[in-house]
């Protein structure tokens, strides 16, 4: 009976499971359990560690440098009556969540990099053009100032003309009065 059972175990880099005899006797159950362990969140891992510490007080504190990252896979081909064939695969295996995290980080880093390094190419970077109080020095970022200036200039023009007209009218009135005054003087004299 040449039944081959191939199992596939994901190992954490710092894990000691690989050395333990339980892991070498690979079973589907242990595989699925380890998968379950791998897919659980960081808090759960931490809790396991705490439990481990409670169980074996003699051992030191284990720290996982890369908690969710599986850097190595071990394939075990099990044949009856023969020694197990153990194949090591040094492939990164990431869970879906981890992949999402990686890509999210990649995208965010790219965006940040574009902004940051792009802004260092900006000739006005951190210059007075950007850092001063506002588009026009008033503290308001309103760019319709030009039209306002023109409008007020025209209003000023209108007032000037009005004053001129009034002055002309007043002048002619004064002339009339003076003429009338002279006539009166003539009549008086």
């Amino acid at each position: 009976m040449a039944e081959t059972i191939t199992t596939f175990t994901l190992l954490k880099p710092c894990s000691i499971k690989y050395n333990s005899p339980r892991a070498t006797k690979a079973e589907f159950g242990s595989f699925s359990r380890s998968l379950r362990q791998n897919s659980c969140s960081r808090f759960n891992n931490g809790r396991h560690q705490i439990e481990d510490r409670k169980n074996r007080r003699a051992s030191g504190v284990r720290v996982e440098a890369l908690p969710d990252l599986q850097l190595m896979a071990v394939m075990i081909e099990h044949l009856d009556g023969q020694r197990d064939i153990i194949t090591h695969k040094s492939i990164w295996h990431l869970s879906d969540q981890a992949m999402k995290n990686v890509y999210t980080f990649y995208v965010m880093f790219t965006c940040w990099g574009c902004c940051f390094f792009g802004s260092t190419k900006d000739p006005f970077y951190d210059s007075e053009t950007y850092r001063k109080d506002g588009g026009d020095g008033t503290g308001h970022w309103i760019y319709e100032k030009q039209e306002d200036i023109e409008e007020s200039a025209r209003a000023e023009l209108w007032r000037e003309e009005l004053i001129e007209e009034i002055e002309q009218k007043v002048g002619s009135l004064r002339e009339l009065e003076e003429a009338a005054g002279k006539k009166e003087d003539q009549f008086v004299s």
Partner: protein, 468 residues
């Protein structure tokens, strides 16, 4: 059609049975007794035949299919129905007012403003979309003054091209002048929508356009949601459908409005000046420009720098160049003379200094080559500065550029050189009144102009020499 008896009770179920036209006529019916009277107010009054407005005869059936004309039994009172509108009675805004947030818009007693707007056809805010450059815009000034006279207190805004906008430096009647290239047939979508939002947000009562409108431009004006949308339309097939979106249309004889010369906006001005109820026909004011003190100072420094003093020089304008600031009309493209001919003309001027106005700095060398190193040259590109220069001069010699019109507006004597008699008649209608000597080329080309005749005409500037 059932519209003839709209208030008959049985008509409404009839309409309900026809699914295609059921909803639309119903909405009109609800409005009919109310709106029809008001819209007809502005069109015709049967009792007084002398007051018919020219638009009444070519009533556009598409605009309101239920337009029945005037209600003969309608009686108008005095208030808000007759005469001109009033100016805003409010005092000017106090910037130190602690209740600044209570500033109402220039609404002219907002509670009852709609009465005047509906019944009398008031115009509180008016927008003029002016096509063309400096020349076309300055010739529009009389129309702006006319609107100001006809609707006291109106706020007039202008939308025009970048070059044309500069002309409003010398117009006191305009509030905002906004730059938008009206003549661009394919505007940038962002600019288009931006401008649309701008004019819509300003809530105009009347929008006038001197661009020949096709259906596209008419839709642009329509989307401003102004009450009166008045525009020229193309005289050819391009104008098809434009009338749908406009409340008043004018069809010029040619596709180039500028060929109309000084009275290029004649039809529109005629419509603006129309009599209404007891308001008589408005008099069309002459072209006037006003120059601010600031511009005068700037220009004074410029011509003093060129070595001339006030009132002792003659402005020469119309030197051939490839500059954008030539300020010539679109209706007369042959209106520039090369510097050789100008040199011939200028050398007969005695007692006064000819000042050559160059539209671009690169023309300076050219002028110096022909006239000499000591020639008085002033670099001017804006109509405002040109007007100020002319205002301080003794007279103007120019081809058909805006300098001629500015000289007339400021009452200065001028010599105008034209390529043909027709152009001269159109652009300077009555030269004697305007102290203008018109000289035309016999061949129809401006370069063949009779320099001797020009030299004789230039002598009119030498007349006042005896005074100096």
């Amino acid at each position: 059609m059932a519209a003839a008896t709209p208030l008959h009770p049985k008509t409404i179920p009839q309409f309900l049975t026809t699914p295609t036209t059921s909803s639309i006529p119903l909405t009109h019916f609800t409005n009919l007794s109310f709106f029809n009277n008001q819209s007809s107010l502005s069109s015709r009054k049967p009792g007084s035949s002398s007051l018919t407005r020219p638009a009444a005869k070519k009533n556009n059936r598409w605009l309101d299919p239920f337009e029945q004309g005037d209600d003969p039994e309608m009686e108008y009172g005095q208030l808000f129905s007759d005469g001109k509108q009033d100016e805003d009675p409010r005092p000017p805004d106090n910037p130190g007012n602690p209740y600044g947030f209570l500033k109402f818009p220039m609404g002219y007693t907002v509670e009852v403003a709609s009465l005047g707007l509906k019944i009398r056809g008031d115009v509180r805010r008016c927008c003029c979309v002016v096509s063309g450059g400096v020349y076309e815009n300055i010739l529009f000034f009389p129309a702006i003054q006319l609107i100001k006279d006809r609707y006291p207190g109106v706020q007039i805004d202008v939308i025009t091209s970048a070059r044309g906008k500069q002309a409003y430096e010398i117009n006191k009647n305009v509030r905002w002048a906004t730059e938008y290239d009206v003549d661009d047939d394919y505007p940038d979508p962002a600019e288009y929508t931006d401008m649309l939002g701008l004019i819509k947000g300003r809530y105009y009562d009347m929008i006038l356009s001197t661009k020949l409108a096709g259906i596209g431009h008419a839709a642009f004006l329509f989307m401003s949601s102004a009450r009166d949308r008045v525009s020229y339309v193309y005289p050819n097939a391009n104008g098809a459908g434009a009338g749908l979106f406009l409340s008043e249309t004018f069809t010029p004889d040619t596709a180039n409005l500028s060929e109309g010369g000084y009275n290029m906006y004649g039809e529109m001005v005629d419509w603006l000046a129309r009599p209404f109820r007891s308001v008589p026909r408005q008099v069309v004011p002459p072209l006037k420009v006003s120059i601010s003190r600031k511009v005068k100072e700037v220009v004074e420094a410029k011509y003093k720098n060129a070595g001339v003093s006030k009132g002792k020089y003659i402005v020469i304008h119309g030197i051939k160049s490839d500059s954008k600031a030539l300020m010539q009309s679109r209706g007369d493209t042959d209106s520039l003379l090369p510097i050789e001919i100008w040199d011939d003309i200028a050398c007969v001027i005695r007692g006064l200094t000819p000042v050559f106005v160059i539209p671009h700095e690169r023309e300076r060398e050219n002028v110096e080559d022909f006239v000499g190193e000591d020639a008085s040259i002033v670099f001017i590109t804006t109509p405002g500065q040109l007007a100020a220069l002319i205002n301080d001069s003794a007279g103007v010699i120019a081809t058909n550029t805006i300098a001629i019109q500015l000289a007339h507006a400021r009452g200065k004597p001028s010599v105008a050189l034209f390529s043909s008699d027709d152009k001269a008649k159109v652009f300077v209608p009555n030269p004697e009144e305007k102290k203008c000597a018109v000289i035309t080329s016999k061949t129809g080309k401006l370069e063949d102009i009779d320099v001797e005749a020009v030299k004789n005409a230039v002598q009119i500037f030498s007349m006042p020499l005896a005074i100096f």
